[in-house]
Symmetry: C2
Subunit: 186 residues, 2 copies
DNA sequence: GTCTATATTAAGATAGAC
DNA sequence: GTCTATCTTAATATAGAC
């Protein structure tokens, strides 16, 4: 099996349990590979598997979130699509964010830079739409930040309360909050 | 040394690294105790240490957050005090939330109920103030939820972006958001 | 590309002396 | 209440055959 076949498995495992919460035996089970085979595909061990999972996520987000965000449509519609895709990514709040999972744990520093870049790309992509819609740079950045805060926070709370409607409510309010007071046709 | 002496250490360790990210050797180092001594104080091992850390946090929040929240003052002032204390708890965004840290990891299920209760107490305490200020139960609950979402989300984002001003901005906006459109003297 | 077998280290946990 | 010493298991990782 090719290396890419196993990326979804790695992604799911690490987002759910974090770096320290996943063992190689667990990965071997889920991928149906021996440990040695895992090291063939990922010579750098667990750390390289996480990096691969991050890259896999990055690609998915690029295609499914950033691309629609640059489409030639009203800002509100673009944000609605973004939220649809993010709901898919997070499975309506039932699956945690890999980025958030990697902000904790013993090896946090190893992934800090990668996590930061992913988060910056998301806030940046949102802010760009707002900028093109006439918002000044600071307000655009601030609003984008608030949207990401709402998404991340609702994921945490949904999980902690074991009530996924928290995420659904939060994500549903994001598009209109982002567009509040905007000229409707950018 | 008495058991309580070491609770702050446990609290700090687990909030920062999560359950799986902390080893007994690490705890032994930070507490300056041998492993065997740790088991004297916490016969249930690491899981019991986490429960003790949760209880320690619960007591702190009860005294420093919930008590002021029930004071005989305007709602806005009470929320401002709440946010001051939460800023203290999270060290202006530099220290993660123990509850959030425990929503991930291999042993998540073990602490699920405790985390849920802590989160419910917080949203409940906030909602009660809003209720007494004339908001209907559903709106009160919804606003309280949004406040906790903002706090948790900004903690994640601050850590991921390595920019603690994200938390400071978010927490600063919480009191007024909670009180928006309220009769000012409840 | 995958396997069995194994090396090595560290983990969580306990026994029993002081 | 704390220690040293030790047990047991599981972790990451590698060697080398197929």
């Amino acid at each position: 099996m090719a290396r890419e076949t196993h990326l979804p498995v790695l992604f799911q495992l690490f987002r759910q349990y974090g770096y320290d919460g996943v063992s190689l035996s667990q990965i071997a089970n889920k991928t149906e590979l021996g440990k040695a085979s895992l090291y063939h595909h990922f010579p750098g061990g667990k750390a390289e598997m996480v990096t691969a999972a991050l890259a896999y996520r990055g690609l998915w987000v690029e295609e499914n979130v950033f691309l629609p965000l640059r489409a030639d449509r009203p800002a509100l519609a673009r944000f609605q699509q973004m939220c649809d895709r993010l709901s898919e990514l997070y499975q309506s709040g039932q699956s945690p964010c890999l980025l958030a999972a990697l902000t904790t744990g013993a090896k946090r520093d190893v992934f800090q830079a990668q996590v930061k870049e992913h988060l910056q790309r998301l806030t940046g992509a949102i802010a760009e739409v707002l900028l093109a819609s006439g918002l000044d740079p600071q307000a655009a950045r601030q609003r984008a930040e608030e949207a990401v805060v709402a998404i991340q926070g609702s994921l945490i709370l949904a999980r902690g309360l074991d009530d996924f409607t928290v995420f659904e409510r939060a994500i549903a309010s994001v598009p209109e909050r982002l567009c509040a007071g905007l000229d409707s046709k950018p």
